[in-house]
């Protein structure tokens, strides 16, 4: 087996704003294996979207490296970058903002193709029709404008567009959170089918833990720009080791009237990335916080189930 398809090594992103330096992402290291689905999960503002944007080369990391099949993405220029752009595509959260309202669906889907190839008109039409068929839309949809579709259908169009060039890695940024429950399942199933059929690798960003558990093979739990815990989804969900992961899981209300929620799992509220706590970033909310947590950042340890916590692994519940 070859190495990971995508590797993040100490990736850090700081923004300088008027109010100070926002430490959005702090030294994140992850590896995404081919044909797997890696989920980045965390609460709003935790930096998961910033990570995705760096992987998509929409932003540059302040420090660290992002490697795609061993090549540093940040160093890519010209043809190499263009080649990378061909391999990596994205589906965004809001199906209303992700499609240009002034272009026909056919044009929207053809856009990535035209950025890399010069197919004939007929060939292009054929390819558009093909991907539309894959996402379950009729070929006639190509002639319509985005506003003529519902949210779920738009998300299908966005998936078709990302699929048109047959990329190898797809970044899914909250792909269903703007959709209704009954539509969500359609899209999730579609994404699963596509992955199976084309052998895609997914990097999905989500805040819905149930969805993550259901959909991903690996998961990284992120808190205030740092990876708290990462590993195979089954292991992480079955035996969460980090107090934050535990708190998250405990806080999810289940569609079960007999389930009792516990509030004590995480205290207070999330701190600001503008002035993150020293030491372990979770320590002000952690029920198990110790002195060392206030001063020293915990190192990540374990394999494949990695946790960044000072608590001795053995003493973890």
């Amino acid at each position: 087996m070859s190495g990971p398809m995508l590797e993040l090594d100490g990736v850090t992103k700081h923004y300088t704003t008027r109010r100070g330096v926002v430490r959005a992402v702090e030294s994140v290291s992850l590896a995404v294996q081919p044909r797997s689905t890696m989920a980045l999960v965390g609460e709003s503002g935790c930096g998961k979207t910033t990570l995705a944007r760096m992987i998509l080369q929409l932003e540059r990391p302040t420090a660290g490296a992002i490697r795609f099949e061993g090549q540093d993405v940040a160093a890519m220029r010209g043809a190499a970058l263009q080649a990378y752009r061909r391999e990596v595509m994205a589906v965004f959260q809001d199906p209303y903002s992700s499609l240009n309202p002034r272009l026909r669906v056919g044009t929207i889907i053809a856009e990535p193709v035209l950025a890399h190839e010069r197919p004939s008109r007929a060939e292009l039409d054929k390819r558009v029709a093909e991907v539309l068929d894959v996402v379950g839309l009729p070929a006639t949809a190509a002639r319509l404008y985005p506003h003529e579709f519902s949210g779920g259908q738009r998300q299908r169009i966005a998936i078709a567009r990302a699929l048109a060039l047959r990329p190898r890695l797809m970044v899914l940024d909250e792909p269903v959170s703007a959709l209704d429950v009954s539509i969500r399942a359609q899209i999730l199933n579609l994404l699963a089918d596509i992955q199976a059929e084309y052998g895609l690798t997914y990097l999905i960003i989500a805040h819905d833990l149930a969805l993550v558990e259901h959909f991903s093979s690996d998961v990284a739990v992120i808190y205030l720009g740092c990876v708290a815990e990462t590993g195979p989804t089954e292991q992480v969900f079955a035996q969460p080791r980090h107090p934050y992961t535990q708190a998250l899981l405990a806080a999810v209300p289940l569609p079960d009237p007999d389930h009792v929620l516990s509030e004590a799992a995480a205290l207070g509220e999330i701190a600001s990335a503008l002035d993150p706590p020293a030491g372990c970033r979770f320590h002000p909310r952690c029920p198990h916080a110790m002195d060392i947590c206030r001063t020293t950042r915990p190192l990540a340890a374990g394999s494949p189930h990695i946790t960044a916590c000072h608590l001795p692994r053995t003493s973890l519940p």
Binding site: E43, S44, S150, G152, D180, V181, S182, I183, R184, A185, Q186, L188, N189, A192, H207, D208, L209, A210, L211, E213, H214, F215, F237, A247, L248, L249, A251, V252, P253, L254, P255, D256, P257, D258, H259, L261, S262, E263, A265, A266, E269, I270, R285
Partner: protein, 320 residues
Amino acid sequence: MLLSVRNLQTHLHLRRGLLRAVDGVSLEVAEGETLGLVGESGSGKTMTGLSLLRLLPKGSGRIAGGSIQLDGQELTTLSEAQLARDIRGRRIAMIMQDPMTSLNPVFSIGDQVGSPLRNHDIARGTALRGAVVDVLRRVRLPSPGERLGDYPHQFSGGQRQRIVAAMAIGCTPRLLVADEPTTALDVTIQVQIINLLRTIQDDTGAGIILITHDLGVAASLCRRIAVMYAGQIVETGPVRAIYRSPSHPYTQALLAAIPRLGAKRGRLTAIAGQPPSLIDPPTGCRFAARCPSRMAKCAEAPPVVDLGDGHSASCWKLAS
């Protein structure tokens, strides 16, 4: 019965045509009871909530029929002034979805929390401050006395939702309409607000209508559930009955379509197609087009079938 709604019809007069946002909804809320109004976007659950206070979009929204009775008093016939004076904020209060936008950014929270107290003559003058501090204490806002002069942006999302709750419960209303009160919050904060609502209910004994699309939140907070689809209630009943033995095909499909934490990984059961337009809704069962057990009869309006224990559903399948 604290609140009794019968055959409520709420219409929105839009450019595209007449939208029947709420089409014949009946529901009841008892004192100290939490009713969960569950449905997808556009199902009419929010409009139902707004209809109770007649806070419909100006110009286009109108209650076209039915009755709303609070403690036996008919609300649909009250004048706007009577509603503002006696009902809104006084006997029925509301909590909205987004704590970031439901507080006025340019007024101090002392002013805003005090506003309903002043308007309804609960407290005035020097007593007002004490009353405001008291109500903020009840929603567990830390050190309320020192923060009256602070502005909404100086609080976190969870704290803001507490302040909104304080505004709502200041006049000890009989009924609280909470419209997606936790949707905009992160899960760890969501728990805190769910618990707050529970505490409020224990303290005041008010009835609560919880409007949500999240079946998990509804399960954790409600005693009874009403499931809405396309402007109508398709199933209603005690929370256990709904989750353990859903009877309407839509409720069943909804529960099957959500991934559950700890459940086995596998293919989700999707509901095909999309909800119908409410401008020109189909006659008969509105879910029929997407229903796996659709029958010929479904072209006619389905009857409400009583399944016992306050559990009922509108479906031909159950009638036969």
